[in-house]
Amino acid sequence: MQKIGVFVCHCGTNIAATVDVLRVVEAAAKEPGVVHAQDYPYMCSEAGQALIASAIRDKGLTGIVVCSCSPRMHEATFRKCAERAGLNPYMVEIANIREHCSWIHKDMEEATQKAIILARAAIAKVHLNTPLAAGHSQVTKRALVIGGGIAGIQTALDIAEAGYPVDIVEKNPSIGGRMAQLDKTFPTLDCSACILTPKMVEAAAHPNIRIFTYSEVERVTGFVGDFTVDIRKHARSVDMDKCTGCGLCQEKCPSRKTPDEFNRALGTRSAIYTPFAQAIPNVPVIDREHCIKFKTGKCGLCQTVCAAGAIDYTQSDEIVSEKYGAIVVATGFDTIKLDRFGEYAYDQSKDVITSLELERIMNAAGPTGGHLERLSDGRMPREMVFIQCVGSRCSDGRGKSYCSKICCMYTAKHAMLIRDKYPDVNVTVFYIDVRTPGKNFDEFYRRAVEQYGVNYIKGQVGKVAPLPDGRLRVSGSDLIDGKAVEITADMVVLATAIEPDPSARRLASMLTASIDTNDFLTEAHPKLRPVESPTAGVYLSGVSQGPKDIPETVSQAGACAAKVIGLLAKDRLTTNPCTAHSDQLLCNGCSACANVCPYGAISYEQREVNDHGVRGERRIAVVNNALCQGCGACTVTCPSGAMDLQGFSNRQLIAEVDAICR
C-alpha cells in the first residue's frame, strides 16, 4: 500500500475563490492510502515546496498528489521538488483544479465537488504509479534553420557565433526573404538593403554557416537532439563552383517574359536569373518551366556565352541527408490573396496595388526605378489613398481575424516618404485604428500627420470604382465628422493582411509541431516560452510564430538562438521515461505494434521465456526506450494486451475512469 500525501493549493484566490480548499483536503484525507493532506496558499512557492519536501521526509510518503494548476504549468516543478526530497519524481500526480475547475465554474458547491472528484482520480492513479528512471540520449551539435529571411539569418548568425555549425535552408535562389524586398524600414527610415546585405554577407562568409538555397526540407525523422533531415536541393542547372556571377547569361537569355516574383510580378525577368542584384549566393538558377532550352530543346545561349562553363542542363535534384540537434522554423509570411475583396477593385485596376508592391515601386531597383508612377499609364499620381486593415481583423471568412501588426507603421512610412519626395501629392489614409505600440512608433506616425500633412480619416472604404478616365473613385466614411467621403484618386494602396508562408503547414506536419487555425506555429507557452514549439527541439523565429516587425523579429531570432545554444551546449538529454514496454508472458510476437509505431522503436527478439514453469523460446516485442516517445498507439493495437505504457498504464487510466464515475 502506498503512503500518499495530498497537497491542495489555493493559488491565492485563483482556486480558493471558487473551490472550498478545506473541503477538498478533508475529502482527500478520507481516501484509502492517504496519510497526509494539507492546503497552502501558494504550493509552487519555495515555502510550499518546502512543505511538500518535509512531509515526504517526515511521513515517508511514497506518492504525492498536488491539486493545483495545469500539469503543463508546474508538473516539472513538483517533480523536481519530490526528487530533492528523495521521492522518485514520477510518483507525483497533479490534479488540475485551476484551469479545469476553478476558472471555468462560478458555483462554489459545483466546483468543490468537481475538485474533489479530480483529486480522487489523481489519488487513484498515483496508487498505481511506479518509480521510473529517465534515460539519456545524445545531442547532435548542429542546428538547422528553415528559412533564410532576416529571422533565419539572425538566428543562424547568433548560433554560429556561439561556435555551433548551422545550416540554412531557403527555398528561393537567394537568402534575404521579405526584408530584401522592402525599400525603407520604420521608424528610422533606414534603407532595408543597406542593413540587410551586410548580414547576408556575414552569414555567407561565416565558417560555421552552410547555406542551401533553392532547397526545401523533404523529410524529418528523429527527435530532440537527434533529428535526421532530408533536404532537397533543386537542380540549379548552374554549377555553383564554376559560376563567377558575371550576369552575362541573364543579359543574353532570350526568354524574358516570366513574371518577376521578387518584384511581386510587376516586372518580368529572364528564365536564367538571380532574384536581385545583391543575391547570395550570386549564382543564377534556370527556371526550367520557362527556359526555352528545357521547353523546346533549342537555345542553349547561356551555355554558349558562359565563359566559366558553369551552365549544366543535366543537373538533377539532389537529396542531402544531415543530422541536427535542433530545428528552427523561420518560414516567414506572404500577403493574402485579394480575390475575395472585390470592393477594392484590385483585379480591375493596375493602379490599385498592395503595400508590398508599393515597396517595389518605391525601390530604386524596382520595376519603375524608384519613381512613383501609375502602373497603368506611367503618370505620376496626384491623389493617393491608402486603405488600412485590408483582410486583417476580418472575421467574415474572407480575410484573417487577427491584426497583421505591421501595416499601421509601414503605411505611415509610405505616406511620409511620398509626401517628402513628392510634396504636391495628396495622401489620404483610411483607418479603423492606428496601432503604434513600440519605441518611437507613435511619434513616427504623428510626424506623418503633423509634419508631412498626411490626411488620416477614421473610417473604412466601402468601394473603389475605376472611372472611365482611369482614375479611381474611393467611397469611404469619416466617422469623426459622421459623413460619407468620396475621393477621386490616382492610385490606391491596400495594406494587405499577412499570412504565414504556405510551406508552414506542411513543415509543421513533418516536425509534428503544433499549428493554430491561422497556420501560425504555436509556442510552448504564449508568455513564458514564446520561441519554443511544444515539440522538443523545434524553435520558432519570426513571423512563422505570429505577425511581427523587423526589430521584433530580430529580438525573437536572438532569443531563439539562445534556446538552441542552450540545447546544443548539453552533451546529453534526459529522455521521457514514460515509454511503452511489452509483457513477455502475454506477447505473441504478432508484429501489430511495430506496424503502428511512428518511430520504429519496436523490434522483435527470440527470447527464452519461463511461462509458469514452462520454458520455451518465443518471439517477443522489445521497445527501444531511446526511440519510443510514449504515444501509446501500440498499447491499443496489441491484441493480447501485452503492450502497456509507463506513466499512463491501462490500470492507471482505468483507475482514473473508475474514480470519476464513482
Binding site: S70, P71, R72, M73, N96, R98, E99, H100, C101, W103, I104, H105, K106, D107, E110, A111, Q113, K114, I117, L118, A121, A508, S509, T512, S514, I515, D516, T517, T522, P534, T535, C578, V596, P598, Q629, G630, C631, G632, A633, T635, V636, T637, L645, F648, N650, L653, I654, E656, V657, D658, I660, C661, R662
Partner: protein, 146 residues
C-alpha cells in the same frame, strides 16, 4: 419531462491528448470560458492511447457520455496517432450503435492547443446533448448498483 430528468446531472468523461486538447482545455480555463462541471478530463499522451475498452469501462461504471479529443488530423504530436484514433473510434461508434446505445453518447472531436473557445463550445454542446438523451441505462453494469 419528469422532475428527475430536470435534476439529471450526467457523468461525463473527456479523454484529452496532452499536446492539443488538454492544452486547449487549459486555454479555455485561463480565458475563463464556462462549461458544465459534469465534464471531467482525463489526460492521455495521445488520443491513440485511449483503448476502446476504456470507453466501454467508463459506460459500465455509469458514465452517461464519453468524449475523446485529439489534435486535428495531420497535426498529431506523434504524427499519426490521431489517424489510428479516427479508425478505432469509427468502428467503436458503429459497434455502440449496433448494440443499441443511443447515438451521440460517444463523440470524437479535434481541438488544437489554440482552440480554447472551441473546447468550451464543444463541451457545452456535448453536455446539452447528453442531458437531452438522459441517463445511460443501456450500457451500465447493473452489478455496480447495490
Amino acid at each position: 419531462m419528469s422532475i428527475d430528468d430536470r435534476d439529471f446531472r450526467p457523468v461525463i468523461a473527456a479523454f484529452c491528448c496532452n499536446w492539443c486538447s488538454y492544452a486547449g482545455a487549459d486555454l479555455a480555463g485561463s480565458s475563463r470560458m464556462k462549461y458544465p462541471a459534469e465534464v471531467k478530463i482525463i489526460r492521455v499522451p495521445c488520443s491513440c492511447r485511449v483503448n476502446p475498452m476504456f470507453i466501454l469501462r467508463t459506460f459500465e461504471k455509469g458514465a452517461d457520455g464519453v468524449i475523446l479529443c485529439g489534435c486535428h488530423p495531420g497535426d498529431c504530436h506523434y504524427s499519426t496517432g490521431n489517424y489510428y484514433t479516427r479508425r478505432r473510434m469509427a468502428s467503436l461508434i458503429s459497434l455502440m450503435e449496433f448494440v443499441g446505445l443511443e447515438r451521440g453518447r460517444v463523440r470524437v472531436e479535434w481541438v488544437s492547443a489554440a482552440e480554447g473557445a472551441k473546447f468550451a463550445e464543444t463541451m457545452n454542446e456535448f453536455v446539452e446533448h447528453i442531458r437531452a438523451l438522459g441517463k445511460n441505462t443501456r450500457l451500465e453494469d447493473l452489478r455496480c448498483k447495490n
